[in-house]
Symmetry: C2
Subunit: 424 residues, 2 copies
Amino acid sequence: MSAKDTDANKNYVCDLAQGAKRAGKLLAVSRGEQRSKALTTIAFNLREQADAIIQANKKDLDQGRKAGLSEAMLDRLGLDEERIGKMADSVEEIAQAADPVGQVIEGWTRPNGLVIHKLRVPLGVVAVIYESRPNVTSDAAALALKAGNAVILRGGKEAIHSNEAIVSAIRTGLAETGIPQDAVSFVDKTEHELVNELLKLDSLIDVVIPRGGESLIRAVVENSRIPVIKHYKGVCHVYVDAAAELEMAHQITMNSKVQRPGVCNAAETLLVHADIAEEFLPSVCDELAGAGVELRGCERSRELCRIIKAASEEDWSSEYLMLILNVKIVGTQAEAIEHINRYGSGHTDSIVTENIGAAEEFVAKVDSASVIVNASTRLSDGGVYGLGAEVGISTDKLHARGPMGAADLTTYKYVVYGQGHLRV
Amino acid sequence: MSAKDTDANKNYVCDLAQGAKRAGKLLAVSRGEQRSKALTTIAFNLREQADAIIQANKKDLDQGRKAGLSEAMLDRLGLDEERIGKMADSVEEIAQAADPVGQVIEGWTRPNGLVIHKLRVPLGVVAVIYESRPNVTSDAAALALKAGNAVILRGGKEAIHSNEAIVSAIRTGLAETGIPQDAVSFVDKTEHELVNELLKLDSLIDVVIPRGGESLIRAVVENSRIPVIKHYKGVCHVYVDAAAELEMAHQITMNSKVQRPGVCNAAETLLVHADIAEEFLPSVCDELAGAGVELRGCERSRELCRIIKAASEEDWSSEYLMLILNVKIVGTQAEAIEHINRYGSGHTDSIVTENIGAAEEFVAKVDSASVIVNASTRLSDGGVYGLGAEVGISTDKLHARGPMGAADLTTYKYVVYGQGHLRV
């Protein structure tokens, strides 16, 4: 790349980020009702402009087919009236949720009369870097706006036409409700180099959220001067304790693996306590195999179920995102917890048990963003938890962990009220 | 440096961090009363071993004098019985505070009966990299332990003997109360290269907190693969509004600048509304000058007070940490806010006013970690706010902002209780 191109890229992203920062400053002092109204208008526009969005999406699909994208990728890329309707529904749900901005998170009065408030305020400018799914465009924009932030969106190049059409519907909605259009800024050029230039702008952008495959996220982390909230893979476990209600365990196992195997909160490994393995495992393995699941397991599990193939060391830490499930029989709950903390990704892990002590130990010792008792791993989700929607599911421990909603795109300031108080 | 030295450094910090991680796992499931008892014992040991600590500190002071450290640095480095007593007091205060671990930050039940808890849990391993003040050793160790974390301490080489003696008192206290000594791990070699090796260990260390000059913090940010919570400089302002109670404004200005000028929450710039400048400024400038403060200001202020020298553009963004104060007369509050957001460091800014609208606008629009109404900037402090003590004052917006206490060294996990809930 020539020096001239590099300068052009630098100027392009710098202008974009400066516009976003200016818009963010205005948003930070906007009222919640104005932001809600903008979101309702955006939802309306998405539905009204569905035809234009579908036409743009056709271009992306055509180019994708020519470029040889897999059927699974084309499916994630594709939009129809129903999917656009769901995007609009999400934006409307976010519009109707309570305003996180201005919330007093904590407040107290010191013995000397000093009043201390921790007040929730917007972060400023949020950048979201993502891959093929166009619904991320409206979800991320809506959550950022809800929290009073400007957002810079950089989608995958395979979805560029779809994203442009969606952003156009969003920006029209902003203009109609008096919010600066740069509050939702879109990187409408596809050069890869632009991302690296963007990641240098730590004086303009407050946080970067990458959503996509592990290689995308690692590249962002390595090149960013801006703080990154990481969304790594989900290697999720279901542990069936000796005291499990076995019919419940059966259903939770099936649901965690089969209901939607291609997402991060689907289970990749089933751990079964030895005491109930003989009773529990054969029937669940039969039903899993019947649903098309390939089973890979430890030796003891293979003695009980012949359909289980041998699992390799690598399998235990693999995020399959498809119909493959690891199976392991453990002698103790301690062994299950050790396995999860060693091979898991700290995303979501479930225990099935009727024993309160076993549940308490699992909750205390499993070091994951979501630890679930007697329910499917698939429930680890911003919508299910009641956050309205989610920017993603953080596997980080700093700032936000697990499903991230609008409140996770805020910070706080200490506001202190004195009556002439001095330091003595 | 030879390859052999590099390997030795790598192995040294890796062993240290692995030990800390193991200790952190045990601490994470320890009880609050055990950690409190350890802290009380540590406070006792610090007092009991004061002589040994003072002897070790003498070595550092002797070497510092030979190396030509400034009197100010020697003063920060020096320990006597009183200072050690204060360190012990802090540890005791932290021991007696409420346990942040296990707190349910938020909890709710979804319409389908799913129970969602956000449970506060330790981060794991915290690394603190700091410069000369030995009291950081006991403060950081105590706050990390309170929050159930292991800590890795890397102090300045000029304080190595003092820090070793303090760490010895701490680790004896851990051993006496059944907590693994590696919960407080100390880098007892002074090679600079060790820090860079430490900053690569993102699988073992959860967060790095650098405390010291701007160059130290920038070096850590640039070299770290581990998330960093930054503690940059404090360019703090006092803004005296047209509706200020002038005697209060006078006292707050004096206290903010003079009470302890060498710290980050001391004021560097006084902004005065034009309407009251003539009445307010001359007398406060006389008293400031009488207290040894050098004044640098805008042209209008110099017309009112001849003792004010001309301020340069660079002065407005300088953290002096000494008896110098910038003075600027502003025509409107908007001008004051713009000045603060442009030249300030987002640390701490105060307004003095009796006008509720002016206070509300200032609180809403000044983008700083602490925004203070009618009190001294010097009150921006973990102890004053009631956090027990502080790891430092974060100028970041992610995870923790402003004074950081023990709770800011925690994360949370979602704990979800179902009764066989599945995703549909």
